[in-house]
């Protein structure tokens, strides 16, 4: 069985149940609300007018035969979503995938996605900073993407977010970048869910391939690492969370301009490197040009002529020889300056 998740005894776990508040054990507080409601009705009859009770406004949902407040239901839905995504990621990390568990987890995710979609179509939300009409589903979806994609060590906050939460502005740009890259990714190629891909060999190699990139940018590496993480069965579901007409943000952003001073000539190039090199020269976002693992790469390693055309020692050689060349050039330059200045 995948997921050596800690099997806790229910003594530990029952506290969680109290938080989510789903189930028959929540009788007492609901009874209190009921008595309060009755009291208010009595007061109204006596002519005493009070403000509307909050619990009358809270929509209630039926789950497993019990009515629970909607915010509890949403909290549990959030929790289940997080758990499901976490399980899928753990699934991917292992060498073998239990297809049955995978199908059950993705079924649950699909259910939640449908619910969110339905809710989103009912309650459109326009965050002012966005500038583009976006529904609550998008906000919630993008926020929910961030916890899972962030778990790999990137420095994005992992707070659970609801639409309209104050943290939304700070999250949005990163998630927009990720969503942009994901949408481009899904546009470029669809990962074929063949069992061997599910199970393994491409995923670690592609992840390693992506991580081997020494493009020099930590931010781009993070984005690419997240892509590698997302490039798995989860990715398909996450891409399923996006609406087809998602605006692609930050497409024109040239992250490479900041990193042109980093010398990448001595780095170990693999299949993906030529794409990076090409993109760094043409100032197209690196993220868009990385091929997916399912597609056989058509890039070859850069020819030797390209390297030698860049006034570097022809033996792609050691750092010391290029350093020496650099020092020689500097000393020549100094000499020329001295001659010119006449000092």
């Amino acid at each position: 069985m995948f997921g050596k998740g800690v099997k806790r005894k229910h003594t530990e776990v029952s506290e969680d149940d109290e938080e989510t508040k789903v189930g028959r054990s929540r009788q007492a507080p609901e009874e209190d609300e009921e008595t309060e409601r009755r009291k208010r009705t009595d007061d109204a009859e006596k002519g005493i007018i009070k403000g509307l009770a909050n619990e009358e406004e809270i929509p209630r949902v039926v789950v497993c035969g019990d009515e629970v407040p909607y915010h509890d239901y949403a909290a549990q839905r959030q929790r289940v979503l997080g758990l499901s995504l976490g399980k899928l990621q753990m699934c991917r990390g292992r060498s073998e995938l239990c297809l049955r568990s995978y199908v059950l987890i993705t079924g649950t995710l699909r259910l939640i996605q449908e619910e969110l979609r339905c809710e989103g179509s009912q309650r459109p939300v326009l965050p002012p900073w966005f500038g583009v009409p976006v529904t609550a589903a998008d906000c919630e979806d993008s926020n929910r993407q961030s916890p899972s994609l962030v778990n790999r060590g990137a420095s994005l906050p992992t707070a659970h977010l609801d639409a309209g939460d104050g943290l939304l502005p700070s999250i949005l740009p990163e998630t927009s970048l990720l969503r942009a890259s994901l949408s481009q990714e899904s546009a470029v190629s669809r990962l074929k869910l063949e069992p061997r891909l599910l199970c393994t060999e491409n995923i670690p190699s592609s992840a390693n391939g992506v991580r081997d990139l020494r493009a020099g940018s930590s931010a781009t590496e993070d984005a690419q690492a997240k892509l590698a993480e997302a490039r798995n069965p989860t990715d398909l579901l996450l891409s399923g969370f996006e609406l087809p007409d998602t605006p692609v943000l930050l497409q024109d952003l040239c992250l490479d301009d900041d990193f042109t001073d980093i010398d990448t000539t001595m780095c170990d190039f693999d299949l993906f490197a030529p794409a990076v090199l090409a993109s760094s020269r043409s100032s197209v976002s690196q993220v868009a040009s990385v091929p997916s693992p399912g597609v056989p790469s058509t890039h070859a390693p850069p020819p030797i002529e390209e390297w030698s055309s860049r006034s570097l020692p022809s033996a792609c050689g050691s750092v010391t020889s290029s350093g020496q060349q650099f020092k020689t050039d500097l000393s020549e330059l100094d000499h020329i300056m001295e001659v010119l200045v006449g000092s």
Partner: protein, 444 residues
């Protein structure tokens, strides 16, 4: 059925100290043969252990029908799939006995990828008095032979040999979850997550695919096969269950590829019990035909349903195994217990059904009297020949009575997934992690 049950434990190779359980010793399947004299168990380490029932003897009436170890052999070894860089577990997923046709016993055992046919035979005689061989095996010089003699069969200590007679491999891309021997005793089927193959017991290099639910685009995969079984009497009929809570009955006479079912057994979902986990808990973990062939039983996470094969739209009986877990589904999802696959078993007369639960509890339901009982398989609570005490679990919220266990105290690491019932008598075998318990009905 009567509550008095005489219990006895099997000690021996399965015993380990209390706190430490060797993974390899975890029992993964239990199966009686057709007469009930032999009981086979498979474990996670790829071993098969066969127990044999002692013959009744007048000299020791108290040892009536005890099961003792008969044979132990390594059925499957861990393998490595070099093409996919995957390790293939040696865990025995299922064992099925073939009907006995001669003195030897045959069984099929399978791991995730390979099915093996094993022959278990006894040897209790040895030939002595060869002409060209000494007793210790040395060859005799033919020139020293002066007289000829006929070798004589002399009794020897009983030796039980297990030898692999057939190996059926390379037919399944996904993990095999079920095997079932056809009533024609010539063919059997093996089912993995997406396909079912039909084999001839004599032919190992070829199998026929009879069910294939793999979608053209794997991204559209929403359903897998969870169990499959041949009808006990009709050699053309079989059923397979899915992770979406449906059972399909297929007739092999209709077409070579049985993708279109003859009958679809599905109960509409109860809207009042809807939750995020509705689909997961509806996934069927086991399906078993009754001995009569008229009914079948399906086990999903919280209940057992008995179906009449003539009625597809709803089961004729539904038994709640551990309804108190319904409010804990989120936590069970978190610790992966919701994915546990429990098996179920019929008794010989199809009047009682049995299945396992958590905390080493197992449940029996009498279909006639509608009575049910919860029993526990544990060393602490039962000594040999003690009568098992029925247990009760109280759902959260209501006051706990004396001797009741609250849901929060259940140990979800101790679960009974595999149980088997003797085909004729009231003897049950219950596998609790790495221990095997055998319980018998006490008849005075």
């Amino acid at each position: 059925m009567e509550e008095d049950i005489d219990c006895r434990k099997i000690n021996g190779t399965f015993l380990r100290s209390h706190n430490y359980v060797t993974e390899a010793d975890i029992i993964s399947t239990v199966e009686f043969n057709h007469t009930g004299d032999l009981l086979a168990t498979g474990d996670k380490g790829g071993r098969v252990v066969i127990f044999q029932r002692e013959q009744e003897s007048k000299s020791s009436p108290h040892h009536r029908g005890e099961y003792n170890v008969y044979s132990t052999f390594q059925s499957h070894e861990p393998e490595f799939d070099y093409l996919k860089s995957l390790e293939i577990e040696e865990k025995i997923n299922k064992i099925r006995w073939l009907p006995q046709q001669n003195a030897a016993h045959f069984l099929l055992s399978t791991n995730d990828k390979t099915i093996k046919l094993w022959k278990i035979s006894e040897r209790d005689k040895r030939a002595e008095g060869y002409n060209l061989k000494e007793e210790d095996g040395r060859l005799r010089d033919p020139s020293t032979v002066t007289a000829l003699r006929v070798p004589v069969l002399m009794p020897m200590e009983l030796m039980v040999e297990a030898s692999p007679r057939r190996i059926f491999s390379n037919a399944h891309t996904y993990h095999i979850n079920s095997i079932s021997v056809n009533s024609d005793a010539e063919t059997y089927m093996s089912a993995d997550d997406l396909r079912i193959n039909l084999w001839n017991l004599e032919i190992t290099d070829r199998s026929f695919n009879i069910v294939d639910i793999k979608p053209a685009n794997m991204e559209e995969l929403t359903e897998v096969i969870t169990a499959a079984e041949f009808h006990p009497n009709h050699c053309n009929t079989f059923v397979y269950s899915s992770s979406k809570g449906t059972v399909r009955l297929c007739d092999m006479r209709a077409a070579a590829l049985c993708d279109h079912h003859s009958k679809l057994f599905e109960e509409p979902e109860d809207p009042s019990n809807r939750s995020f986990f509705s689909e997961i808990i509806s996934s069927i973990s086991d399906v078993k035909f009754s001995h009569s062939g008229r009914y079948m039983m399906t086990r999903d996470y919280l209940s057992i349903k008995v179906w009449d094969l003539n009625m597809e739209n709803r089961p004729i009986e539904t038994y709640q195994v551990h309804e108190y877990l319904r409010s804990k589904l989120c936590s069970l999802y978190e610790n992966d217990c919701i994915f546990d696959k429990f098996e179920c078993a019929w008794n010989g007369s199809d009047s009682v059904i049995m299945t396992g639960s958590y905390n080493n509890f197992f449940r029996m339901f009498d279909r006639g009297t509608r009575r049910d009982v919860t029993l526990e398989a544990s060393r602490e609570n039962s000594k040999p020949r003690a009568v098992l005490k029925p247990r009760r679990v109280c759902a959260g919220g209501s006051k706990r009575k004396k001797d009741e266990i609250s849901v929060d105290s259940l140990d979800f690491n101790r679960k009974i997934l595999h149980t088997a019932w003797h085909p004729a008598e009231n003897i049950i075998a219950v596998a609790a992690t790495n221990n095997l318990y055998i319980f018998q009905d006490k008849i005075n």
